[in-house]
Amino acid sequence: MRKIAIIGNGISGITAARHLRKLGDDEIVVVSGETDHFFSRTALMYIYMGHMTYEHTKPYEDWFWTKNNIQLLRVWVQELKPEEKQLLLSNGEHLSYDQLIIATGSKSNKFGWPGQDLPGVQGLYSYQDLELMEENTRNIQKAVIVGGGLIGVEMAEMLRTRNIEVVFLIREKEFWDVVMPKEEASLIGRHIIEHHIDLRKETELKEIIAGDNGRVNAVVTKSGETIECQYVGLTAGVSPNINFLKESGVNLDRGVLVDRYLRTNLPDVYAIGDCAQFSDPLPNRRPIEQVWYTGRMHGETVARTIMGKDTAYKPGIWFNSAKFFDIEYQTYGHVWNELKENEQQFYWEHPGGKKCIKFVYHKESNQLLGVNTFGIRLKHQVLDQWLGDKRDIFYVLKNLREANFDPEFYTRHEQEIVECFNRQHPSASITIKSGIFSSLFS
């Protein structure tokens, strides 16, 4: 029986632990300084907004860990000593291991702005950040958020539930247009404004200023404008949380460098999740993937390798999802913010301006390459299949009903979408397959 230590009880570390337990009976110790139990980081916003309590965000009841014989240690790891196969813990003790998984996640980016460490200025990543935010935003009137990504928009939504005025500074022309094509980016932008967020496009932060009490009091933008506020949220991305590994001898770049098997340069040491960086990334994939789903898949995969079934990380078709205030977003395959050469797109937007769908397909072969959908739910399984089978846009539109995942009685738009396509491509004249009655008695 080996002793497997896992640093980090986030989705990647915990998934690894669960799968290790499923596959064998080694001793498993999960170490984390953040919380006693695994909770869903993606739900942090809902705790602040009062939708849920911390307890609700724990995906497994507390007895689960004892029942599955997974030991949990609430302590920080200060140092990795690979020669002795030991971890030095913040309580002064040592933890030895036979196999080690590093799954330490991320921390918020700070770009050296003057005043970025003032009281009242913070990022949002950990449970402690959330507690701090609760403190920092008590009885304040106005906040500034810097950096327009997913966490930024979540923070804006959080603050609005406390009736705090929000000024949202984004460097880009449209919200998140480094990832989103412009139609979608502007749709979200409009929705953000509808929620009474003061969205300032193409505005960069220059410095953060303290007031007499030493707390943040205002920010100054690069154009010289001063915006008074009592809170600043820094949400300009995250980066791997690996400082404690600097001296350990494990190869680092921005993250812990790993091969396709999630192995580091050190024997018996693996890295997964947000903190792992592929030295040789897969085509069309980023070297560091900071999403929930990939963290989970890393965990599933590394457990097999450690159990002796060497398994390379081979993610399937890319997918992701998010919610911007009330608008749900899903994506399958690849939709880049700019069309690539050989790519063509078809975009449909509902007259109400809160739903849209975009298909990107190959210019010559018409093969579907990616889909973005807002306000319409699609079936993951169907899109995965279509993209995997290299279906063309005509097939996809014709069968679009099959892919819908909206609740019953929702207004369906497939007909409109296909008519719109036909108008733009008169030669296509696609007729949509009706799906309503076939499904009732299937």
Partner: protein, 598 residues
């Protein structure tokens, strides 16, 4: 906007305060005429001597009035017992002189000598002894003690069951009379102007509620899920306000079911409505139905506004509002007006636990073809309606689209759905408890039908009337009412449906084993956030399934669709589809690193 809402809240609270105030706001004065109206002639004779001091006496509070009334019935019954009870002396006399020789055969003929005066009391005692002690006739006894022993048990039975039922006031009659007397002898402002009070309470309350609710369309921002601050709310997170509200609900039900005589003012207030609808005065269940329906309509409007972005929620809410207003409230009242049996066409046994009670059956059978139709309809719902509709749509067709209990849970109770317990332990308790109630309901009904057909009230040593009385008091009133609704702010809005409703158990068994309904999960999209589980009113840990890509097939799921509505990643969908795909292998799409999933 805020101003309208605040005014609304104030008006609502004012209406509510007047409603509560009116509970204490009556005087009572019993007159001779009222006694004659409410009591039978012989009852007056029995009661009058003990009631003398109450007649024409003014009472300023329901508590003192009912206290005295209680006293009156106790005294009257004690007196009756003394008068008509078989005393030791009677028994000694029946047993004959101690000098008689044993063994000997006992004969009932002795009664003619013992009860020989020919007055009413003797005639009664003689008949009663013959009824209860007939089995002693011609029995052989070894000793006088043996005989006395048997005589004693006859007397005991008779004193216990025979006298009060025939000559005094049994507990049911006492309950009715207390209520009737209180209602008819009540005086005061409410009695004088019920319309005014109807306006000051209901109209004001509804107006206030609507003023509070409607502006949410604008003040809550664009349509979408707004569960903001729920877990900080003193009302929705078992805070002080939730406890106060729960206490109010619980007290209301306790008075309604067990002490209706105290709430006569509330009933008098709705008399005018009752007269309009069915041409006769209101009873406590009219009040209940009226209040219940209004609550569903007002809180249903709130639901419609909160979920105005979801057509599923809109359709479902309109459906429960419709079925409550028409099927549960108006149609039965109109039927009464037409002299037809009171009948709720959507209520199904065993939720409708008295459907097979002898009095109910006789009413239906004696009401001509309509009655027979009702009987057939009720049975068809049980044997055909439930399985067929659950097969096609899941139990939701009933529980969250039609049912009255469900209707209240989904409207008034919506704010409390997050309070249901999601633990595995709670699930275990639930399975055990709800099925136990189902068994109880079936056994109780079997006993009732046995008695109906055979006339014998005893089966396997159990008294069928006893069983049905226990069921009615503990399950029908206690569990479904007091706990079912009273505990909304404490344990969530489906306590009854989840732990107690025998119909839900029956629907659930069909749903689990033979149905096309399931909640599907969307590939690998779940982020384990927990919104679905938190807002599941049935306490299903939805996330547990979603995060491993497994369809949710659970007997308890009422298909309210809220998990799907609150899921921020579009993971959950309520579907009816081929049974084959129902129990899927848990699969999370997206990882091609290995083929076969463990």
């Amino acid at each position: 906007m805020r101003l309208i809402q605040t005014t609304g809240l104030i008006l609502f609270l004012l209406g509510f305060a007047i409603f509560i105030g009116s509970f204490f706001l009556s005087n009572f004065q019993i007159t001779k005429e009222q006694l004659e109206e409410v009591l039978t002639e012989s009852e007056i004779k029995t009661l009058e001597p003990h009631l003398q001091h109450m007649v024409n006496q003014e009472y300023g509070s329901n508590f003192s009035f009912i206290h005295d009334l209680n006293q009156t019935f106790i005294e009257a019954n004690e007196f009756t017992m003394e008068t008509y009870g078989l005393s030791k002396v009677d028994l000694e006399a029946i047993a004959g002189s101690s000098g008689a020789s044993y063994p000997r055969d006992f004969s009932l003929d002795v009664l003619d000598q013992v009860f020989n005066s020919g007055d009413e009391v003797d005639i009664f005692k003689k008949k009663a002894f013959t009824d209860y002690g007939g089995w002693l006739d011609q029995r052989a006894y070894e000793s006088r003690e043996g005989l006395l022993g048997d005589l004693g048990s006859v007397a005991e039975n008779f004193n216990k069951y025979g006298i009060i039922g025939q000559k005094g006031f049994d507990k049911y009659r006492v309950k009715d009379l207390k209520y009737e007397l209180a209602k008819s002898s009540s005086t005061g402002p409410v009695k004088d102007s019920p319309w005014l009070f109807l306006g000051l309470t209901y109209a004001l309350g509804i107006l206030g509620a609507i003023m509070y609710i409607l502006p949410k369309i604008k003040s809550d921002g664009p349509p979408g899920i707004r569960n903001n601050n729920i877990h900080f709310s003193p009302m929705k997170h078992r805070g002080w306000l939730g406890i106060v509200t729960g206490t109010f609900f619980i007290s209301f039900y306790i008075f309604l079911y067990y002490f209706p005589e105290y709430m006569t003012n509330w009933i008098i207030m709705v008399d005018p409505v009752s007269f309009l609808l069915k041409g006769s005065p209101a009873g406590r269940f009219f009040l209940y139905g009226f209040l219940y329906t209004l609550t569903i309509l007002v809180m249903g409007t709130r639901m419609l506004i909160n979920y105005r972005h979801s057509n599923y929620q809109i359709a479902r809410t309109i459906s429960v509002m419709f079925f409550q207003t028409s099927f549960a409230f108006l149609i039965p009242e109109f039927l009464l007006r037409l002299n037809k049996p009171f009948f709720d066409f959507k209520n199904i046994w065993p939720l409708d636990y008295d459907f097979f009670f002898d009095n109910e059956l006789s009413t239906l059978i004696n009401s001509g073809s309509l009655g027979i139709f009702m009987l057939g309809w009720g049975i068809a719902l049980i044997v055909l309606g439930v399985p067929i509709l659950v097969y096609f749509f899941g139990k939701r067709w009933y529980c969250s689209w039609v049912c009255g209990c469900g209707g209240l849970a989904e409207t008034l109770g919506d704010s409390y759905r997050q309070l249901s317990d999601k633990s595995l332990k709670a699930w275990k308790v639930e399975q055990w408890m709800v099925h136990a109630v189902l068994v109880f309901a079936v056994v109780m009904t079997a006993g009732v039908l046995y008695t109906y057909w055979t006339g014998s009230s005893e089966i396997l040593g159990l008294n069928t009337y006893g069983i049905r009385e226990t069921y009615g008091a503990w399950i029908g009133a206690g569990f479904a009412g007091v706990i079912g609704t009273g505990f909304y702010p404490l344990m969530g809005n489906r306590v009854w449906c989840r732990f107690g409703c025998p119909l839900a158990a029956y629907l659930g068994i069909v749903q689990r084993f033979k149905s096309r309904f399931r909640i599907t999960t969307n590939g690998g999209q779940c982020i384990s956030c927990g919104n679905c589980s938190t807002y599941c009113e049935m306490g299903i840990d939805v996330r547990w399934y979603a995060q491993r890509g497994q369809n949710i097939v659970r007997s308890s799921c009422v298909g309210c669709g809220i998990c799907s509505a609150v899921c921020p990643r579009g993971v959950l969908n309520l579907e009816n589809a081929s049974e084959k795909s129902r129990f899927n292998k848990p699969v999370l799409i997206g990882n091609d690193s290995f083929e076969v999933r463990e």
